[in-house]
């Protein structure tokens, strides 16, 4: 709550649903690799992963 919440990465299986802007976008093949990439990013960035829709995850620094 002290610092503004910010999207620091976007992971998606559907490239066409995202417009570039600010955060790096990772394109993955399927839901499995979506989870895998998100887990890696979540752990390395110490941020939390949230599901926007079944095909898209965002890594958010709270």
């Amino acid at each position: 709550m002290e610092q503004p919440t910010k999207i620091i990465a976007i992971i998606s299986t559907k490239q066409e649903t995202i417009k570039a802007g600010g955060a790096p976008v990772f394109i993955t093949e399927n839901r499995e690799s979506l989870q895998k990439v998100s887990t890696t990013l979540e752990k390395t960035l110490d941020a939390s992963a949230h599901e926007v829709d079944p095909n898209t995850m965002i890594i958010v620094a709270h």
Binding site: Q35, S38, T39, E42, D46, A47, S48, A49, H50, E51
Partner: protein, 292 residues
């Protein structure tokens, strides 16, 4: 001045004993180390001494000495500041933070206890001018009474604690019907389903609804429970951080946390004893809203 010497010594000692009685080291683990205790005990001693010396000063009409009491009060505000600073520094490294409100409450308690000690010293000295033994007894009894009366309210007094079930709707985590947060990772979901516990805290009246909505109070509840029942958590694991969310309609509070002990009877027992923070208490029912 000799006639006062014994009285002052008795007053100081009884006041000091009162400080020892009021110094509690419990599961909150503060202060534990001898150094931390020495700081508080020495302040207590000084407080008792100042309180005791005030009596002969008044009797001898030494008004300069009495004004020094005012100076002493300033000194004890420092106690509060000292405790606040220490606790805030320590809190930065806590996995589940106490929160500023809780710290403020603790600092306030430390300051208040010093005044109590000063007062005890003063009363004891005053009485000991007539009878020393009576003074000692009254001083100690007074300190014991203060010890029991000085305690604030507990969560049990203002709210009912019921078990909540943790469930997922897609990525959304709920405790009963209250939404907590969105969890994206399947691995985190698995850990949460295995280890998390949910609690619904139901406020008993209008006043407690407001008290429970206070963010400091909520943080204090989470800190308290993580402190006693342990917490499955590390730095850089935001998915597992304990959270509290409230139902904005009726003021119920949902708690989500990952304790080491998942048994609900234990959780309830611990939650019952969470202190209600002074800074969180609101009394809207006492105000006139124009209702009959």
């Amino acid at each position: 001045m000799d006639q006062y010497l014994v009285s002052v010594i008795v007053g100081t000692l009884v006041g000091f004993v009162a400080r020892i009685l009021l110094l509690r080291t419990d599961f909150r683990q503060y202060p534990t180390y001898p150094t931390g205790r020495i700081i508080n005990l020495s302040f207590g001693f000084i407080a008792a001494f100042i309180g005791s010396v005030a009596v002969p000063a008044v009797i001898e009409s030494d008004w300069t000495a009495v004004t020094f009491l005012g100076l002493a009060a300033t000194q004890f505000r420092e106690v509060r500041k000292m405790e606040r600073d220490t606790l805030e520094k320590v809190d930065q490294k806590e996995l589940v933070k106490r929160g500023e409100s809780f710290i403020e409450g603790m600092a306030q308690a430390f300051e208040g206890r010093n005044y109590m000690v000063m007062f005890t010293g003063l009363i004891t000295t005053l009485i000991s001018l007539y009878n020393i033994w009576l003074a000692i007894i009254i001083g100690i009894v007074g300190a014991l009474i203060i010890r029991t009366k000085i305690k604030g309210k507990l969560l049990n007094d203002i709210a009912d604690i019921t078990e909540g079930t943790i469930r997922f709707e897609g990525p959304n985590l709920y405790v009963n019907d209250i939404h907590i947060k969105n969890v994206g990772l399947d691995s985190s979901k698995k850990v949460i389903m295995e280890r998390a516990a949910g609690v619904i805290v139901i406020p008993k009246n209008q006043n407690s609804i407001l008290t429970l909505s206070n963010l400091g109070q909520r943080q204090a509840i989470l800190h308290h429970i993580s402190n006693v029942l342990g917490s499955y958590l590390d730095s850089g694991e935001p998915d597992l951080v304990p959270l509290s969310k409230r139902d904005m309609d009726d003021g119920r509070l949902a708690l989500f946390f990952l304790p080491k002990e998942k048994e609900f009877s234990q959780i309830r027992e611990v939650l019952k004893h969470v202190p209600v923070l002074d800074s969180a208490i609101r009394l809207p029912r006492e105000s006139d809203k124009g209702k009959g």
